[in-house]
């Protein structure tokens, strides 16, 4: 799909973010610029500690004290809002609520239409029959699906996912990739997903944003021009993967020179 002609939904420019630890300033993000178009699926890949999760948290409105601008629909992001849905690495479902109650947790209003939306989303993520189950009764994959349903039940402008499948086993992960494709096709949501799994990124994304380490900044962006459903073993898929791998390999090699 080509999203080059749709409008910009998220615009980040000149973003800087520091952390303070023991009176030292640790730069996390430096002069980061990113434009995301409506309906795009963006995967942000980078090593651990490169600031990719911090970037996502800034977009979610969970982090303050940054400089630069983060505009959502041309309005500066000021704290969290229901126009953004968030899925964390852990499912973070409320243990005292059933699947259905968890998904309905964030509803901005409660009426017959919103309760229909809850049922629709339970069906969309394939949890029909588990409405009354409690989180501890679910498998890791099912819990994460409930968490995705909770994030999109208000039909947010953007779905933000922070390594959502990082804790799942390889088989469940591949199954979840199909689910996400399906959800995205139905909901037509813009998706920004942070991951350290290059394979996952190439499989899902319209654009893969590669971040470099300390301070985090955008190293390169790849537009993945392969139609869905993608074949993980096709020549072009492997080629993209190789090129993105190359970005990290170069970086790792230089840092390893010191060790040897």
């Amino acid at each position: 799909m080509n999203y080059q002609n749709t409008s910009t939904v998220l615009s980040i420019s000149g973003l800087n973010k520091d952390f303070y630890s023991q009176k030292k300033i640790v730069p996390v993000l430096r002069s980061l610029n990113l434009e995301i178009r409506r309906g795009e699926f963006i995967c942000i890949v980078g090593g651990s500690g490169c600031g990719k999760s911090t970037l996502l948290r800034i977009i979610a409105g969970l982090e303050n004290n940054y400089t630069g601008s983060v505009l959502l629909d041309e309005h500066p992001v000021q704290g969290p809002g229901t126009d953004r849905g968030v899925v964390f690495q852990e499912h973070r479902l409320f243990p005292w609520l059933t699947v259905k109650e968890n998904i309905a947790f964030g509803l901005t209003e409660r009426n017959s239409e919103s309760s229909r939306s809850v049922m629709e989303h339970i069906k969309l993520v394939g949890l029909s029959g588990f409405e009354q189950a409690y989180p501890h009764q679910l498998s890791g994959g099912m819990a994460q699906r409930a968490s995705i349903a909770r994030a999109i039940v208000n039909r947010p402008e953007i779905l933000l996912m922070d390594e959502p499948f990082g804790a799942l086993d390889a088989f469940t992960k591949i199954q979840m990739h199909e689910e996400v494709q399906h959800i995205r096709a139905v909901e037509e949501t813009t998706v920004i997903m942070v991951t350290h799994d290059i394979d996952e990124a190439v499989y899902l994304a319209d654009r893969v944003v590669v971040m470099s380490n300390r301070p985090g900044t955008i190293r390169n962006t790849y537009r993945i021009d392969i139609p869905h459903p993608r074949d993980r073993h096709s020549a072009e898929f492997v080629e993209y993967r190789k090129r993105i791998f190359g970005e990290f390999f170069a970086q790792v090699k230089t840092s390893q020179d010191y060790i040897i």
Binding site: A60, L62, G79, P80, G81, T82, R84, G85, V86, F88, E90, R92, F94, P95, W96, L97, T98, F105, G106, Y134, H136, Q137
Partner: protein, 247 residues
């Protein structure tokens, strides 16, 4: 069936007790037979005297418990939610907690007199601490990640406390309430032994003074029954909030 297994050993012990009392191995002025205790209880109940004693004791526990829980909930919630409030008030409360509860008795008697208010205050003090401590630590050890989910959905402070903080702290709160209720029953005995003209504790004291062990034993059994029933009631009320933990 499994529930009945627990009754086997007590039933055997009561049987042996009955037998040994009957044959005179236990002197009646020392340990009367279970059937004698039962007969004494029925006799007391027939004169409506017993119901009055039980009623006043339950009233004292209930009033002290209600006051203790109410005050502890406010303080526990504030100490749990606000670091500032905790720093201000928690050291004092921790210090007061270390005072043996019986040490308050002379002071409460002096301040509040021999009537109901000194007894109820003593019980409230006993109930206060476990409820306060459990609620505070329940809130303090909340999973910050769940709070963040609340923030993601743009919940404001009060909604966050109502929909995330309180339900998450509920198991600890209920544990505190159960412990508090147990202490409430303990303290009512102490309060009534010290000076009362009615109540199960008074009945025990009276049994001791007049050399009637059957009355003392009957009172002990009644205390146990009242304590167990009230605990069951709390567990039942709490299970509504904790049903998610069942399998």
């Amino acid at each position: 069936m499994n529930a009945l297994v627990g009754f086997i050993v007590p039933a055997i012990l009561v049987g042996i007790w009955e037998l040994l009392s009957r044959v005179g191995y236990f002197p009646p002025n020392w340990l009367p037979a279970p059937t004698v205790v039962l007969a004494t209880t029925i006799d007391l109940a027939r004169h409506e005297e017993l119901l009055q004693h039980i009623g006043i004791t339950i009233y004292r526990v209930a009033a002290g418990f209600a006051i203790g829980v109410a005050v502890a909930t406010v303080f526990g919630a504030l100490s749990g939610c606000s670091q500032w409030f905790r720093k201000l008030i928690d050291p004092l409360l921790q210090a007061l907690r270390n005072i043996p509860s019986m040490a308050w008795v002379p002071l409460f008697l002096l301040w509040l007199g021999i009537q109901e208010s000194s007894k109820i205050t003593l019980i409230a003090v006993g109930v206060f601490f476990p409820v306060y401590l459990n609620l505070m630590s329940g809130i303090m050890h909340l999973d910050i990640k769940l709070i963040e989910v609340g923030r993601v959905f743009n919940l404001k402070k009060i909604a966050l406390v109502r929909r995330v903080v309180l339900p998450a702290a509920m198991p600890a709160f209920i544990t505190g309430i159960r412990t508090g209720l147990g202490l409430g029953w303990m303290f009512v005995v102490a309060a009534e032994l010290m000076g009362a003209s009615k109540g199960l504790g008074f009945l025990m004291n009276d049994g001791q003074m007049t050399g009637r062990p059957a009355i003392i034993i009957a009172s002990i059994v009644l205390f146990a029954i009242c304590g167990k029933i009230s605990d069951m009631f709390v567990v039942y009320a709490g299970s509504r909030f904790l049903r998610y933990k069942e399998n």
